[in-house]
């Protein structure tokens, strides 16, 4: 036993002191991981807890820390007492429109950046990167003037255009990265067989990069779903307000109790959180790749 302990080359774990140290470090890491999870999830959990409270209990000096499952009356108040359903419908329309346009544009653009040579290709690649740096708050002022002239204020289509323009550069980079990874031989084989180039993209390349396209679609959908600044500035009429803008009308207004506000926030946040959790590997690595490649 002692021989093992004193052997200089023995791995640390064999030494008794090392074992204790290792256990301690394990414990510290477990505590750290637990703390990390609590910090990340707590605000969403707190939306749930607050949403399940009856209005009368909101102002208790000692808050309840557990949700009351079964007490979902507040969701009824949300649907009947606020325009939540219309907001969600508007958000869905804007997000779907943004997804269709930005994925279609992003896929063709990303493919072209990866596989074709054309005049100004380098400039375009750089421009896509630069758009990531332009502050939206800076563009919102002139865009307001442009959209006012084009009659695109208070218009769901106008918001689709803006959202698509801000997410297309990221998608184009994601798709370029994905197409870079597809062996060119597949396409050449198809072309030798007489397949037109656009059909090659559609029927040969697209199926291979499907996971990236799915990730891009989720990113596009929820970047529009989550967007606030442009919607708040351009969609001032009640009929076109999306959820992001609608929910903020509750701030500083006391008619709507906090349990209803939190129920709305939860309904609004949950789809984004769930989809990003499921696809985080694709979305985050795609984002990172796009960012770094710039």
């Amino acid at each position: 036993m002692t021989a093992v302990v004193t052997t200089p080359a023995a791995p640390e774990s064999v030494r008794p002191g090392g074992l204790v140290a290792r256990l301690a470090s394990r414990l510290a890491k477990s505590v750290g991981i637990l703390a990390l999870c609590v910090v990340c999830v707590f605000p969403v959990y707190w939306m749930l807890v607050t949403a399940t409270l009856p209005t009368a209990d909101l102002f208790d000096r000692t808050p309840e820390l557990l949700p009351r499952p079964g007490d979902l009356a507040v969701f009824g108040d949300l649907v009947s007492g606020t325009p939540m359903l219309r907001w969600l419908a508007n958000s869905t329309i804007i997000a779907l429109g943004t997804t269709v346009i930005s994925v279609a544009f992003g896929v063709t653009c990303g493919y072209a950046l990866s596989r074709t040579r054309f005049h100004g290709r380098g400039v375009l690649g750089f421009a896509l990167f630069v758009t990531q740096m332009l502050p939206e708050a800076l563009l919102v002022v002139p865009l307001y003037a442009v959209f006012a002239a084009l009659g695109l204020l208070n218009d769901l289509g106008g918001l689709v255009i803006v959202n698509a323009a801000f997410v297309v550069p990221i998608i184009a980079w994601m798709i370029k990265g994905a197409v870079d990874g597809v062996p060119a031989e597949i396409e050449e084989a198809a072309r030798v067989d007489g397949c037109p180039r656009l059909a090659t993209l559609r029927f040969v390349v697209l199926p291979v990069i499907k996971p990236s396209v799915a990730a891009a679609a989720v990113l596009a959908f929820f970047s529009a779903w989550n967007e606030y600044l442009f919607a708040a500035t351009f969609a001032t009429a009640d009929a076109v307000k999306p959820t992001s803008v609608g929910l903020t009308t509750f701030i500083g207004e006391f008619a709507t109790p906090m349990n209803v506000v939190m129920a709305g926030s939860l309904l609004y946040a949950l789809p984004a959180v769930v989809f990003f959790m499921l696809l985080q590997r694709h979305v985050v690595s795609g984002l990172g790749a796009g960012a770094v490649k710039g």
Binding site: K29, I33, C37, C40, V41, P43, V44, W46, F105, T108, C109, Y111, A112, R115, T116, R117, F118, L128, T131, Q132, M133, L134, P135, E136, L138, L139, V140, V141, P142, Y144, A145, A148, I161, V162, A165, V168, P169, A172, V179, D180, A184, F222, W225, N226, Y228, L229, L247, T248, M258, M262, S265, Y268, A269, V273, F275, F276, R281, G288, A291, K293
Partner: protein
């Protein structure tokens, strides 16, 4: 983040087909021209005009008056200072917390996929929902934060987090870090995992201390990622709008009035698009400067560590 796998160059680009490529990128180019390039130019133009929000097409040219007014505005110094404090604090905080989280996660535990998914929550949650729940949690009377803090033995008074000029900035920075650090953590975790284990083995054989291992092996390994992250976090912080706007609206007494918030207030509250645009142009110049600094530093660092940068 796939820092290591930086763009494999397009393999064997199919024949010269300029027309085909141009046709494919044309829709995107048009969209970007309409929504990004033209407004940028228009913003520059507006900054030389006096234009009321109600009649955005009917401004009159005033030369450099907006800039002169902005530079003479005693509030400008405070706005820039607030922007700097917010940016530096939230970037540093996110990087440090992200690195700690990444190192905690960088052990052979089961369920790392689940952990990564949980880390996605703050980043995925819509800004508006985030702002609303934090407004509630930080509520001065009924918020869970005050209740939880006063359970501690040395805290006995409730704070007005978002309404106290001294506390609003820390509160807004904390919410920002909550939202942003997971992105840094996931990127840094990927970078940590890309460091070859043999380097640590070798350092151990050389009996390097933990601190030395960190400095000699970990730091060079993650330096390119840290740098890229720092740039993006800086740009994001600099242009961040909705969280600050919804949490405090720039107040109390301008304590969280960053450049972007002030720009929006001038344009849409004080209804002066020209003056607002001038602030925006100053903001643009500053973010371009940040990018230039990034490229210079990354080139230097790339030379020092001889690799990606």
């Amino acid at each position: 983040m796939t820092v290591a796998q930086v763009a494999a160059p397009a393999r064997r680009p199919a024949r010269r087909a300029g027309g085909f490529g141009l046709a494919l990128v044309a829709p995107t180019v048009l969209l970007l021209l309409l929504v990004q390039a033209y407004p940028l130019v228009e913003g520059l133009r507006l900054s030389f005009t006096q234009t009321a929000l109600a009649r955005p097409r009917a401004g009159s040219y005033v030369g450099l008056d907006n800039y002169a007014e902005l530079l003479a505005d005693p509030r400008l110094g405070k706005i820039l200072w607030v922007t700097l404090v917010y940016t530096v604090a939230s970037v540093l905080g996110s990087l440090v917390l992200g690195l700690v989280a990444a190192m905690v996660m960088n052990v052979g535990i089961r369920g790392r996929g689940l952990l990564r998914a949980i880390l996605t929550v703050p980043w995925a949650a819509p800004g508006v929902a985030t702002a609303l729940v934090f407004i509630w949690m930080l509520d001065s009377q009924y918020g869970i934060t005050n209740w939880a803090l006063t359970r501690l033995p040395f805290v006995d008074s409730y704070q007005r987090w978002l309404n106290d000029p001294a506390l609003a900035m820390p509160a807004v920075v904390a919410v920002t870090i909550w939202k942003v650090f997971p992105f840094a953590a996931i990127a840094l975790l990927a970078a940590l995992q890309a460091i070859p284990g043999e380097l640590y083995e070798a350092a151990k054989v050389d009996r390097a201390t933990a601190l030395n291992r960190f400095r000699q092996v970990t730091m060079p390994g993650i330096a390119p990622t840290v740098l890229t992250l720092a740039l993006f976090l800086t740009i994001w912080s600099f242009r961040r709008f909705e969280l600050i706007w919804l949490l405090t609206g720039g107040g109390p007494v301008d304590a969280t009035n960053t450049l972007m918030i002030d720009l929006y207030r001038e344009s849409f509250r004080n209804r002066q698009l020209g003056y607002g645009s001038a602030i925006g142009v100053v903001g643009l110049v500053l973010s371009v400067a940040a990018a230039v600094v990034y490229f210079v530093v990354s080139r230097r660092l790339g030379r020092r560590y001889g690799g990606a940068g």
